[in-house]
């Protein structure tokens, strides 16, 4: 008798906890994903594709968008079942869901964007093991309702995609002197005219394309972001009155 009672009260407490959660601010989710907790620049999660696939803007952005789609879908699928997944086995359950979604993306890309699929190669199935996907499922979707979870997944993924695109763009310009090379893989051969030659007669700076370029480039991006954040903080500290007016 008492056991049943205990279970019932536990469930009640759980439901109450879920209901009592603070209201989620959508703008805050967007800001966290794109800037404050950007996966590529602040959390430094999912570095493997960040470093390996950013040899060009198109590569980086494509993989980033795929990751964002997977993250939005996985967050949206985990959030509604969060109360029924036993805590002890939640990681395998989450991974199975993510793996199923990645398989869908992988097969559809193979069907409709075959040449891009060939370029991104192993890194599409590897989205499963990208720790940022599981991190958001575990940290956000397992504790929040469906709509904020989906938004969080997408914004975190989109933040990562922007970092991948920037890093890819910088490495492409320095390494090859072009921009948007490989865009024909996405939009078909007619898009070849969109490839920009930024520096004509360029020798090519192979280091930027090779792995060291990825590390140095990412470090420079992180340094730039930290510098901007520090400058902003310093400005707010020097003008506290106006800052309090702007923030809620």
């Amino acid at each position: 008798m008492s056991e049943v009672n205990q279970e019932a009260t536990q469930e009640a407490v759980q439901v109450a906890e879920v209901k009592a959660q603070p209201k989620v601010f959508y703008s805050e989710i967007v800001e966290n994903g794109l800037w404050k907790q950007n996966p590529g620049l602040v959390q430094l999660l999912g570095l493997c594709p960040t470093l390996a696939m950013t040899v060009s803007l198109v590569n980086g952005f494509s993989l980033g968008v795929m990751t964002a789609v997977v993250m939005a879908a996985s967050n949206a699928s985990v959030a509604p079942i969060r109360q029924w997944v036993p805590t002890e086995i939640r990681i395998p359950v989450f991974i199975l869901i993510i793996a199923a979604l990645v398989t869908i993306i992988d097969l559809s890309m193979h069907a409709y964007l075959q040449s891009l699929h060939a370029v991104l190669g192993i890194f599409i199935p590897l989205i499963v093991t990208n720790c940022i996907v599981l991190a958001r499922v575990e940290a956000f979707a397992a504790k929040n309702p469906v709509v904020p979870s989906a938004l969080d997944g997408f914004m975190m993924g989109f933040g990562l995609a922007l970092v991948l695109a920037t890093l890819g763009g910088v490495r492409e310009i320095i390494g090859k002197g072009t921009l948007f090379s490989g865009i024909d893989l996405v939009f078909g051969p007619s898009a070849k005219s969109m490839i920009l030659t930024i520096i004509p007669d360029y020798h090519g700076f192979l280091l930027a394309i090779l792995p060291p370029g990825a590390f140095i480039g990412l470090a420079s991006l992180i340094a730039t972001r930290n510098w901007l954040a520090q400058r902003k903080a310093a400005r707010e500290a020097s003008a506290p009155a106006s800052a309090t007016l702007i923030t809620h």
């Binding site: 020798h203 700076f205 192979l206 280091l207 090779l210 060291p212 140095i216």
Partner: protein
């Protein structure tokens, strides 16, 4: 600041740097004699870039600019890098390499005394993997060149205003490069070394420069700016490796003296691996460090994809320095092992 017996005071950084640069002067003179005066322009370009990059980084890092600029360490890095590059490289090559060496390899790690990697070799490695074609295009020594180059011609190459003269007309494969490619064509070492670019021991002309490095190195030893451990261990292990292979099969492996007198062996032994910042500090550690570089250099030369391997070997062994130092701590007097 000197340490305890106070019998002699340690020389200041700038005195050391000036003496090392002085030790490089014979080699530079030999360089001018063999390859022409273009190297002086390269040295000047590297020096200006190094000082400008150093001043910029010091300013960004809010450090005093003048004392660090005057210590000469940036200048020495620039010289060592310029002496490692092909003497008729385009001007931007030396600028990019020096900038990388000073900004990324030295200042971003914390400046003089904090860089784990030899800055000149980082600059060299960056250039070698980024611009392999230019970096392996060495001009032939003046006495072998088909077209004799005046200083004006050399300046045209460096600043990219060549009128019709392609670099191919004046460049030739370096002996290490030539040996490597010809060996893949099943020629024997004896046939290969009969080619005109081979001299008595190493490269024709180049061996004069190498001899001047040796002379400068002996001056450094005499001035006690470097200890015997590093050069001796490096050169003897390199000779031992090469000698063992040579004894086994003299048609496929070059004479040990050839390995000592070509490429960057001598420059490396006395001026590169003796960098006190990125190298180990214990005497035993220095022996291990230098021996490791020699083994890697030989392996890269014989089995690797690049003709010479001193730069990569130095960088690889730089990574091992903390470990080597930890393993080779000398026994403190009064303590048991």
């Amino acid at each position: 600041m000197s340490r305890s017996p106070y019998l002699s005071s340690a020389p200041s950084v700038s005195i050391i740097m000036v003496k090392v640069m002085l030790a490089l002067v014979p080699a530079i003179a030999a360089y001018v004699w063999v390859f022409g005066a273009g190297i002086l322009v390269m040295l000047a370009l590297a020096s200006i870039t190094a000082l400008a990059a150093e001043a910029l980084m010091l300013k960004l890092r809010n450090r005093p600019i003048k004392p660090f600029l005057m210590d000469g360490s940036a200048l020495l890095t620039a010289w060592l890098l310029a002496l490692s590059l092909p003497p008729l490289a385009p001007w931007w090559l030396v600028v990019v390499g020096t900038f990388f060496a000073i900004v990324i390899a030295k200042q971003l790690y914390g400046g003089l005394g904090y860089n784990p990697f030899n800055p000149a070799m980082v600059g060299y490695a960056v250039l070698l993997i980024s611009f392999p074609v230019i970096m392996t295009h060495w001009p032939a020594p003046l006495e072998l060149a088909q077209a004799k180059l005046s200083l004006a011609n050399q300046l045209q190459y460096i600043f990219g205003t060549t009128n019709g003269l392609s670099l191919d007309a004046v460049s030739m494969a370096t002996p290490l490069d030539y040996l490597k490619t010809q060996l893949t064509l099943h020629h024997s070492v004896q046939e290969i070394t009969a080619a005109p670019q081979f001299g008595l021991l190493g490269a024709k002309g180049g061996e004069l420069v190498v001899g001047a490095y040796l002379l400068g190195g002996l001056y450094l030893l005499q001035q006690r700016l470097i200890t015997w451990h590093l050069p001796t261990a490096f050169l003897s292990v390199l000779a031992l490796m090469a000698g063992a292979f040579y004894l086994v099969d003299a048609t496929h492996y070059a004479h040990p003296l050839f390995h000592l007198f070509t490429g960057a062996s001598m420059l490396g032994a006395f001026f590169i691996i003796t960098d006190p910042v990125s190298g180990p500090t214990t005497p035993k550690g220095k022996l291990v460090f230098a021996a490791g570089i020699a083994v890697l250099t030989y392996l890269i030369r014989v089995y690797g994809g690049y003709p010479d391997g001193v730069a990569f070997s130095v960088l690889l062994m730089n990574m091992c320095v903390p470990l080597i130092d930890a393993w080779t701590q000398p026994r403190v007097f009064g303590h048991k092992k």
